[in-house]
């Protein structure tokens, strides 16, 4: 039986109980006769930081790490997140980025710039776009930049456009990005099959349409086979087609967004290109564009001029999305990933991740899990509905997720996309072996069986994890919400009277 480590690990503030003087690192000191002469009016008073030796700090965080699950621990079938294995060789990349300052003279970082340049070239090739900027620190930052580009393009064309179309299956980032730039978000409902309803799109698109944000394959894992027609409708209305690269893994090496008619593409290098997710970040992004749109890309873009690599700014660039060059430390990891796979490996990514997904569908086909358009192949992910199980047993998608945790698997994405009731969104990726896929299918089958034979125990799961099911109401209630140790201390001081009004 799988069991996660359990440590009753105190807060870092509570380890040194005697409050004795300790320190975890020595500060290098120079013999310099300079006085720290900050005036009293701005001088800092005492500060309440823990005092610990290196050993205590290391043990504390190692224990915490043992109560955490990552791809190196086991399979993480999180739909839309593409939690593939992160090859260890990527860590070698730190060598060409770690110590370099972003404002260094470009003549001193020609090797690093060459890496950035090659990565740009390779990403252009796999997306079918004309130019890529690596300045965006994450996918959603790329979306924001892409929408700002769309706005700037229309402004310069003097076309009055105030609506952004978004598929109802879209990631939440799409409407959020559009509205951050000031667009009114208009949802395009999907049809019975789970695809963009092209007739509806045709009747909704107008001269007000700035663009359409879409991912293909979509979040149901279905390939939008009418993409040619979709592209035509949007472009006829003077809009631009934006590609959300979150699902690129399902087509990588098979078809390119550029060939499908997309004008702007963002990539999540931490998804498709194997960069570790870092527990929620850092990731890295790329923003690629075609034709006229390349003029608006965020800068810098690395170019080659007279045998030298330089940083350039596209003539109508929207500016910068992050303060310096983007998350280059992770761009370098993606560089290693692409080099390690090569053209042979890259062209197998979609084939293998699609194979894994459809194999799981095959293993789960005669269960109570329901599937929209069951005869359509899925790409890299699949969304099952556990509604029937919920109706018959009261066991929800959340309970199923917790049941899987107890068997040593991370859970699928649940309750997303919102158009599927009791959704379980599974993305196995190309890096899980057939044996692991079988183990996962068996674990899911067992959980479904438990829903009928032993629902109470499932409702109380997980119990093999570091803690049991957590109280979300207490965590979020205005009278109990506790976001820091400082608030804990205030609560004690005010005898629990600290309500977030």
């Amino acid at each position: 039986m799988w069991r996660q480590a359990v440590w009753d690990e105190p807060l870092i503030f509570e380890i040194n109980r005697t409050k004795s003087r300790r320190q975890g690192i020595l500060i290098p000191k120079e013999e310099i006769e300079e006085d720290v002469s900050i005036p009293d009016s701005v001088r800092r008073k005492e500060i309440d930081l823990p005092e610990l030796t290196e050993n205590e700090v290391v043990r504390h965080f190692v224990r915490l790490s043992q109560m955490n699950y990552g791809v190196d621990t086991g399979m993480m079938p999180l739909g839309s997140c593409t939690m593939k294995y992160n090859p260890k060789s990527e860590e070698l990349a730190q060598d060409i980025t770690g110590d370099y300052h972003p404002l260094q003279d470009v003549n001193t970082v020609q090797g690093t710039l060459e890496m950035i340049y090659e990565t740009q070239e390779w990403l252009k090739e796999v997306t079918g776009m004309d130019e890529c900027s690596l300045q965006v620190p994450a996918g959603s930052a790329g979306e924001l930049a892409g929408v700002i580009m769309i706005r700037k393009y229309h402004l310069e064309k003097e076309s009055h456009k105030d609506e952004m179309l978004v598929a109802d299956t879209a990631h939440g980032t799409n409407p959020a990005s559009a509205s951050m730039v000031g667009y009114k978000v208009v949802y395009i409902k999907s049809n019975e099959e789970g695809l963009v309803d092209v007739d509806l799109l045709r009747s909704t698109a107008s001269e007000r349409t700035a663009g359409f944000m879409l991912t293909n394959p979509n979040t149901l894992g279905l390939f939008e086979e009418n993409i040619g027609e979709i592209s035509k409708v949007i472009h006829e209305n003077g809009g631009l087609l934006y590609y959300d690269g979150a699902n690129l893994n399902g087509i990588l090496g098979i078809v390119r967004p550029g060939d499908m008619g997309f004008d702007i593409v963002h990539l999540n290098l931490h998804k498709t290109f194997g960069v570790p997710h870092g527990g929620g970040g850092p990731g890295a992004g790329a923003l690629c564009a075609k034709g006229e749109m390349t003029r608006y890309l965020p800068y810098p873009i690395v170019e080659k001029a007279e045998g030298k690599f330089i940083m350039n700014k596209p003539e109508r660039s929207i500016g910068k999305i992050s303060s310096f060059n983007g998350n280059i430390g992770n761009v370098a990891r993606a560089y290693v990933y692409i080099m390690g796979l090569g053209r042979e490996g890259i062209s197998e990514i979609a084939r293998l991740s699609t194979l894994a997904t459809n194999y799981l569908i095959d293993r789960l086909k005669d269960t109570k899990l329901e599937l929209k358009s069951p005869n359509r192949p899925r790409k890299h992910e699949v969304v099952f509905s556990a509604k029937k199980i919920f109706d018959e047993t009261g066991i929800s998608a959340l309970d199923i997720a917790k049941g899987l945790l107890d068997q040593g698997f991370y859970a699928p994405t649940i309750y997303f996309p919102p158009i599927v009731e009791e959704a379980l969104m599974i993305e196995p990726t190309e890096t899980e072996s057939i044996e692991t896929l079988d183990m996962f299918a068996n674990a899911l089958l067992k959980t479904i069986e438990d829903a009928y034979s032993n629902p109470d125990s499932l409702r109380r799961s997980p119990s093999n994890t570091a803690v049991g099911r957590l109280d979300q109401t207490k965590a979020n209630h205005p009278s109990t919400v506790t976001p820091s140790y400082k608030v804990e201390k205030l609560r004690l001081l005010l005898k629990n009277d600290l309500i977030l009004k």
């Binding site: 790490s65 527990g279 506790t482």
Partner: protein
């Protein structure tokens, strides 16, 4: 064909056979005319050893400097302790995902709660989110937050704002019709309060101040700024170098609404531009907390009454609120937040102060030496932390001479002005050597 990262590569046909399908079936929905024909123009695959050789080749094309560059401008060279590298290399942390399933992700949740708590102490503010991309984007999000709160469209910023952050701020906020109004500096480089109060009116949404400012200068009258802003119901945003807070008053003491800053200086390598770490904190006020973007971890209990941690206030986020969300941010800089937490824990109360003092001393030593021995002048005379500007007759000439000796000098502000950054990563010997080389060409 086999590949170390692709376990099913050689058994593809077997698996398809078990399913009774062909590969064509799986892609039957992709229009034929769209499919990639022929090979992609990519390099052929390389073994790990070959990759390593290629990286070595690239590294050799970079100039090997004798010391870390004397460059700041928002991020500075610092020594990153091995213990920090070791912890963030724990693969349970770095290969994990956003902790949507809290029971199996307690480790990162507690670590992020500790980051929030440690940063809350440093800033003296109650609510810290678990990271944004960097200082610039945190500032942009803070300004968008102020706009959501009061709907006003003018934002007052100092003329001596970090230009790299300013550009990010402009890119993010210009589409919303937000305009930036600049306040002049005093002779010493600090914010001119008279100019500020002249520019304050009912149209102003927020005032942004930096501590220290781009020239490294420590602002000494922020109480008055906050007081002025409060009278006009203007949101106050303070940008901080967290290391400077080892010596100077934290934002919480001034009662500002939102604090932003850069966590790179607390245990994160320069990474040629990122990943860095955007800090964002707000006062204990529901209006501010509910408008705050990003992830926040909170404390709770499990069903057996055991302490536990989980993401909180998620109804603000894009997956729940879609276009009405406080931000589109999802992937953030969690692992960097852990690096900050480990670094601050290693420093502790005394180390934090000692480090700040050592940086202050070394940067003042370098400045005085340049003034005394090279006769250089400063545009602004105010007290500074970590970074300072000096006027040179010819920046390029000095820069070239230094580079020839394997030293990278300060940032070029103009043909005759340089911004230098001196930290604990720069030994006295390096400072002396830099000044000696400068002496030869000045």
């Amino acid at each position: 064909m086999t590949h170390p990262w692709l376990p099913n590569l050689s058994s593809k046909e077997d698996i398809l056979k078990r399913m009774g399908k062909t590969e064509e079936d799986l892609f039957s929905d992709v229009p034929k005319e769209l499919m990639i024909k022929g090979d992609l123009n990519l390099p052929t695959r390389r073994s790990e050893y070959e990759v390593k050789l290629r990286l070595k080749e690239l590294k050799e094309k970079n100039v090997q400097l004798k010391y870390p560059p004397f460059l700041g401008g928002g991020v500075c060279p610092h020594y990153v302790p091995e213990a920090v590298k070791f912890i963030i290399s724990r693969s349970e942390f770095y290969t994990s995902y956003t902790p949507y399933q809290p029971e199996i992700s307690q480790g990162i949740l507690q670590a992020l709660y500790e980051y929030q708590s440690l940063m809350a102490e440093i800033l003296d503010m109650e609510v810290v989110n678990s990271s944004m991309y960097d200082w610039g984007s945190s500032l942009a999000e803070a300004v968008l937050m102020a706009f959501r709160i009061n709907g006003r469209k003018k934002v007052i910023i100092p003329e001596l704002i970090n230009p790299f952050h300013e550009e990010v701020l402009r890119t993010w906020t210009e589409p919303r019709g937000i305009t930036l109004v600049k306040v002049k500096p005093n002779e010493d480089g600090s914010l001119n309060l008279d100019d500020l109060s002249r520019k304050l009116n009912e149209e102003v949404s927020a005032i942004y101040v930096e501590q220290p400012n781009f020239y490294g200068i420590i602002e000494d009258n922020l109480e008055a700024v906050v007081e002025l802003a409060r009278r006009m119901k203007v949101v106050t945003i303070m940008g901080v170098n967290p290391l400077s807070l080892s010596l100077v008053k934290p934002p919480g003491e001034y009662g500002v609404d939102i604090a932003v800053g850069e966590g790179q200086e607390l245990g994160i390598p320069l990474n040629y531009g990122g990943p860095y770490m955007g800090i964002m904190a707000v006062r204990w006020d529901a209006k501010l907390v509910r408008q705050m973007p990003g992830r926040i971890v909170g404390k709770t209990k499990d069903e057996n009454g055991k302490q536990g941690y989980t993401l909180i206030l998620q109804t603000r986020e894009q997956f729940a609120r879609r276009e009405k969300a406080t931000s589109n941010i999802t992937t953030n800089e969690s692992l960097m937040a852990i690096a900050n937490a480990v670094y601050i824990s290693l420093l502790g109360k005394n180390g934090f102060k000692e480090l700040g003092e050592e940086i202050y001393r070394r940067s003042h030593y370098a400045m005085r030496k340049m003034v005394k021995e090279l006769g250089l002048s400063r545009t602004f005379q105010g007290d500074f932390f970590e970074e300072f500007e000096v006027n040179l007759k010819n920046y390029d000439k000095v820069h070239e001479a230094l580079l020839k000796r394997g030293i990278h000098g300060g940032l070029k502000l103009s043909d005759t002005s340089s911004l230098l950054c001196v930290t604990e990563a720069h030994p006295k010997k390096a400072i002396d050597e830099m000044v000696d080389v400068m002496k030869e060409v000045i």
